[in-house]
Point group: C2
């Protein structure tokens, strides 16, 4: 506001915070009229940067300014130098965040500016969290979701391919099962290009990136992704290693502690990531079930429509499919177990609900891009899987990414296991995927790659007392024991009961 | 969740953050299944504490844990020691914050837990901001405001006085003018006790604490406040120096960057602060005007009712008064100028709208506690002011706090000044207090104690071309020049115009 500036002596903290932060003594802060999280422009010789202010009583002396590594590097300054400090006053994004908090709709320009300021670290953490909270509580309408998607796309880098049809697939908050590792090789076998960036686990027992990492390195850079995709049609890599959407990555980080996942933001985030790898045709899988993220078919339908509409606005053809998320996909839970299981399907050793889902989704893609006639997509996918063409393609992908594990048999089981058997006869009415995830995580997944759970029985199976229900695997004995203890109170299996309750005199 | 723990080697950062933060390498974080802002329990020998996790690529090596000073001190640990690290899993407060975000009402117990976790640094900044944002967007209803007030009171310390009637006064987002420095000595002269904690300026040109500091030290501790109040009936000190309501102080800090001031939170904050100094009778002043915080009489009335109701629930008698905040109170803007002006009123050299307001508010207090009969409060206050008893009391207060400035004449004007005169004849229709504040701040207030603005003319005054309107004071020539430049585009004076617009053929 007032153009007042002053020179302070630098004090460099050799710590990276991932943010642009400087620290002032409270006396100097008062002198400048600065409060926690206000912004200052710092200049040293010909370099300038903006940093967010932290205030301290003791850590920085009067007339000094503490700089964390990012700021020191941006200015190219060492300790005990004089730098010029000038309050910048509020930035416009803060006004827009307040506007959203009040419940008003944001314009395209306003959303663009907020995203740019988040990406370039001009907004403090407090302000960014305010924004994410506002989006969670007020929601983004269709227009705002489109603006957000465009802003996220504009913020990041965009991969370009010289030729070919670029397709992609994304599953929103699904259950376990590595459909991606089956769909990608099927689709690439048909001559389509699928540069698949996937995530590591956040709350699940394994993300696709965690499972794929059992077979091959997944931290590919942009150049490598492009090169391999051009050559053999696909990669399966970790999106976190590619700096495709910096604002989106930052937003996701601050959403995590409060598990904020506002619908509009999820849609924008997914589609922006797809656009950044150049996808033109995208299938969105929306599993619905009581133990997955989307519990309600109506919600899935609403999201499906939004995905399609927003996709159209940003130049992508999107088809959304609502799938049954009630049961686990496949029988494996945990990075290595799921990788092994997916390879077994590609090798033709298994065909179950996971294989079927994979063929159905690949089929949708085939029909979208006219590789198969309407109604014939599934058959083509099934044929590719059955003929082992998909397996060959998967081996090419693994090799291209630098991996050496090419068959399911090369993947060992973890050293320690515990088998849980039925204590009664019965029919299995359901398997709680949430509980399975918890057991696998307690056993060490996903950091412990070989930890997890293998199901021996699934919904509908008739079982007899003493028959094996599932096996827990762990790499450390203590973790196996913790997981076993957990199952005592948390049985993932539900049995069909005829007698639903007993009414006795003393319970009246 | 999983009871998994591991030993890591400490690396101590000699920086205080005011928070309990530890830093893990991203590899270890992944191993633990920890994300940014998750919590861990740390233990070393017999000491334990909970810290919020920050994650780094380079600043902390694998198998090490970086501890900021607060955490190192809590554990009594130095660098290169082994400490045990164990993820705590989510805390219940986070669930309650999500609940509020969804728009549900919180129970007394839930609010209590959130406040406790904020106070004791168990909530990360992201989570705390989420809470404050939720309160801003969803509001607190009357019950929740009562719960919040009780929780803030329970969180802090409470001052107890052996005898006497403890009264207090608070003004919500008012305009300039140091009514407090006149009311406190008037009230104490009548034998009431008023241990007044006041704030420094946030967005204004001076807070009461900034002005009082021109006369005497204001950073008194609890013991000193009690001692002086017991002896002479009052203090006027800085609330920030007293650790009376730690959770409230933390909430206010994170509210600042986004200027969040949800009504319920403001009410809870004010009343909790009053309760913490043992106040039993409180007058709340709610100025209404287009340039102050409350712009609407309806809002003031709603807040007034809430203040009274919440007060009753926490055992305080509250009377709220709605006052005219359209004009500046008095003619001074800036710490020293306002202090000088207040002393001049106490010395009987001036009597204007500030003096009148002070007597009216003191009168309300007198009638509340039956020191004056109904309708006679103002007269008693006026008599005390007029008889110079209030001046004597103010001198006692200044001396007791260790000050030496006892008369208005001892306060000098700043070295540099600039006088602004009328460029036309006219009648002053209004003075924009917001603009006055900006001019005073650009001139250096409040850090520059002697900087500010003195008005020579006020609303209703007839003026002639060339007559002095106001004077800007500054301690640095450059700041004076910046303030002068600002006034060129931002004239705080509005003149009555007879011709409101011209209609000409070419404007049709």
């Amino acid at each position: 506001m007032n153009g007042y500036s002053q020179e302070l002596t630098t004090d460099v903290f050799h710590i990276s915070t991932g943010k642009m932060i400087c620290v002032l003594n409270e006396v100097d802060a008062h002198e400048f009229g600065l409060f926690l999280a206000d912004r200052v422009e710092l200049s040293y010789k010909k370099k300038k940067c903006v940093a967010v202010v932290d205030i301290t009583k003791n850590s920085v002396r009067e007339n000094y300014i503490g700089l964390f590594m990012e700021v020191a590097q941006a200015l190219g300054v060492k300790a005990k130098e004089q730098i010029c400090v000038k309050p910048t006053g509020p930035i416009r994004s803060v006004e827009y965040i307040k506007k959203k908090m009040r419940g008003d709709k944001l314009s395209e320009q306003e959303i663009k500016e907020i995203v740019k300021d988040i990406s370039e670290e001009r907004l403090s953490e407090i302000e960014s969290v305010g924004f994410v909270s506002a989006v969670f509580m007020r929601g983004l309408d269709l227009d705002e979701t489109i603006f957000m998607t465009k802003a996220l796309i504009a913020d990041g880098n965009r991969m370009e391919f010289s030729s070919g049809t670029i397709v992609d697939k994304h599953s929103v908050g699904g259950c376990n099962g590595r459909a991606t590792m089956i769909i990608v090789p099927i689709v690439a076998s048909a001559g389509l290009k699928m540069p698949k960036t996937s995530s590591r686990s956040i709350t699940s027992a394994a993300g696709t990136a965690d499972s794929m990492e059992v077979l091959a390195p997944v931290d590919l850079d942009t150049k490598k992704i492009k090169e391999i995709t051009e050559k053999i049609g696909a990669v399966i890599c970790w999106g976190g290693a590619v700096d495709l959407a910096p604002a989106d990555d930052k937003i996701i980080k601050i959403e995590h502690p409060l598990s904020l996942d506002p619908e509009g933001q999820v849609i924008a985030s997914v589609l922006a990531k797809k656009a950044s790898v150049g996808s033109k045709f995208v299938v969105i899988d929306l599993p619905v079930g009581k133990n997955v993220k989307i519990k309600d078919k109506e919600v899935a339908l609403r999201m499906a429509k939004k995905f399609v509409q927003v996709g159209k606005e940003v130049g992508m053809e999107v088809e959304a499919v609502i799938t049954d998320g009630e049961d686990p996909s496949g029988r494996a839970v945990g990075p290595a177990l799921e990788a092994k299981y997916a390879l077994e399907i590609l090798e033709g050793k298994r065909f179950d609900n996971l294989a079927q889902k994979s063929c159905e989704l690949a089929g949708v893609i085939f029909e979208m891009v006219n590789v198969a006639a309407t109604g014939k997509g599934y058959d083509l996918a099934y044929d590719i899987l059955h003929s082992r063409k998909a397996l060959d393609k998967m081996k090419q992908i693994i090799k291209a990414q630098g991996g050496k594990i090419l068959t399911s048999e090369q993947i060992p089981f973890a050293e320690f296991k515990y088998e849980i058997s039925a204590t009664d006869d019965g029919i299995i009415e359901g398997v709680n995927t949430r509980q399975l995830t918890n057991i696998a995580r307690i056993a060490g997944a996903p950091a412990s790659k070989y930890a997890g759970v293998m199901l021996n029985k699934i919904r509908g199976d008739k079982i007899k007392k003493g028959e094996l229900l599932y096996t827990i695997y762990a790499e450390q004995k203590s973790r196996l024991e913790s997981a076993r203890e957990y199952t005592e109170q948390n049985d993932p299996f539900e049995f069909k009961k005829i007698v639903l309750g007993k009414i006795r005199y003393d319970s009246l």
